[in-house]
Amino acid sequence: MTPSWSALYGLYVREILRTFRNPFVLLVTVVQPFMWLAFFGSSFSDVPAGLLQELFGTSNYIQFLLPGVLSTSMLTVGMFGSMSTIQDKRFGFMKRILITPTSKGTVFVTKALGSATRGLVQFPIMVAAALAFGVRFHVVWWQWGVWVLALMLLATGFCSLFLAITASSTDWQTPGVVSNFITMPLMFSSAALFGSSHFPAWMQAISSVNPITFSALLGRSFVLGTPVDWTYLLYLTIFAGVMLTLGYLVSRRWLKVE
């Protein structure tokens, strides 16, 4: 079945507009990055600069933390994509969509890309917040674009994963439960908050295949101006591609209408 570009565009715009027209979502989107950096970022403020340099490769922990927090945020946007899908099922909007010549696969793709885009809204806000906290960026101009692309790939992968897991659910609680189940292990087994070199061997093994690690390390190399390992971008592309394909197939077969 060929995708309908017209429906794809319409539903994608709907996802974006719904976000920007909800003042509460906007407020949380703006405030949350500041809270992350203020509370978590300040937790090492009294640690001697030399020790920070040794542990994190920089004397400013927020500079180290920022790419990790951005990557972790992309993990949580999947939950919102699932919740938005369940809302459409419960309020009958999914039925309205699928009574038109729009396939379940098209609905899935728009939900995944819409949620991923929504997650990227935090990027400029987080960068502005980091600047306000005194972070200095060593990012070359074109690297900003690559960084956004990497985050988009990560978010697309996680949104697809969430949507695939919750395709047949109509229960409001499911996305939250799934999120609780996978967010913490993925976040703490990644290099998002701390460098993985101090992890035990088994956690290092998990961290080395964790997509959050790829995104965090790629972003960190941009922020700190250290050499870039481009294989991380390749891994993120594979992760997004595999999850998008998997989610598309699952949705075509199992996406519940109501």
């Binding site: 319409g10 709907r14 719904r18 309020f91 699928l98 009574i99």
Partner: protein, 330 residues
């Protein structure tokens, strides 16, 4: 049938399998002529909504065939979907969008390129043009219903499915909607398949009606043809003394006697002639309640099914009932 917009042949829909199977539709046959308002009349759980779900491609067919607007719903579901409109029982719009944006989204979903002038015409037709750029969350129920019908008409469909369109509406909004349904059918030349469990709604709006119960079509025809099936009056009787059905049947003019709970439903050739004979058999003091109904769609339904439209069957196995409800919603 050559000029039928909807043709259904031996269509069955079963949810689940084995002992837990729920037969929502059983060997349904229908041919709905083009340009008519066709009503599916039946109680809750009769299979009306399931039939609409099958015909709109929302759920699969278990057995049989169906074609809408000349396209087989299994082979060409997208062709069918581009030729149908849908009005839900509950109003389903995007509340974050304006009326015009809802029409825009519908145009995108229906892959329309030139839709603006048609949308304006519809907004004008439904007296919504002055509120076109207001968010629909600020609309009254009547306005929301009108907009929903405008969405259904935007791509000039051959058929509009209306699933209990007036359920939960107040009397004045319901009357307004009846006027709209009659008008759009005439002005836009669409075939309307409407489900309802309101007798008066089916009688007022439909050119033809099919009575559906427990997944089966029990009768079909124009309202007059259906009423003509019952060449009798129905007398419903509650008596305070034991009743011998044989004694009731022996009263001249009685065609049939049926027990219905504590009541007796008696089919008689003429209630005017029957009642004096009844009172001669049972003293007036022993009769607690008596009602007479002349032929109507209500009596047609009662005559065919043995119960009134609003009377659901008692739930004997509550766990099984909820399990079936869950499966039916899937």
């Amino acid at each position: 049938m050559a000029d039928s917009t909807i043709v259904v042949r031996n269509l069955s829909k079963t949810y689940g399998n084995g002992e837990r199977a729920v037969h929502a539709l059983e060997r349904v046959n229908l041919a709905i002529p083009s340009g008519t308002v066709f009503g599916l009349l039946g109680p809750n759980g009769a299979g009306k909504t399931t039939l609409i779900k099958v015909l709109t491609g929302i759920t699969d067919i278990t057995e049989g065939d169906a074609a809408v607007a000349g396209f087989d719903i299994r082979r060409d579901p997208m062709e069918v979907k581009s030729r149908i409109g849908w009005v839900a029982a509950e109003v389903i719009l995007d509340d974050d969008f304006t009326a015009r944006e809802n029409l825009w989204l519908q145009a995108k979903l229906q892959r329309l390129t030139d839709w603006e002038s048609r949308a304006d015409d519809l907004l004008r037709y439904f007296s919504l043009i002055d509120r076109a750029d207001d968010r629909v969350s600020h609309f009254s129920t009547g306005m929301r219903k009108k907009l929903e019908i405008a969405l259904a008409l935007l791509h000039q469909p051959s058929v509009i499915f209306m699933d209990e369109p007036t359920i939960g509406l107040d009397v004045s909004t319901r009357r307004m909607l009846w006027g709209i349904i009659t008008a759009i059918h005439k002005e836009f030349g669409v075939t309307v398949l409407l489900t309802t469990h309101y007798i008066e709604e089916a009688d007022a709006l439909c050119d033809r009606i099919a009575i559906i119960d427990r997944g089966k079509i029990l009768a079909e025809g124009t309202p007059s043809e259906l009423k003509g099936r019952v060449h009798a009056d129905l007398v419903q009787l509650e008596v305070g003394v034991p009743v011998d059905p044989a004694a009731l049947s022996a009263i001249p003019g009685v065609q049939e006697v049926r027990a219905q709970g504590n009541d007796w439903v008696i089919r008689v050739a003429s209630s005017e002639e029957f009642l004096p004979r009844l009172l001669a058999t049972y003293p007036a003091a022993s009769i607690r309640r008596i009602s007479v109904e002349k032929p109507s769609l209500e009596t047609v339904f009662l005559d065919i099914t043995g119960r009134r439209l609003g009377e659901d069957e008692p739930i004997r196995d509550v766990r099984r009932f909820y399990a079936q409800m869950r499966r039916t919603r899937q």
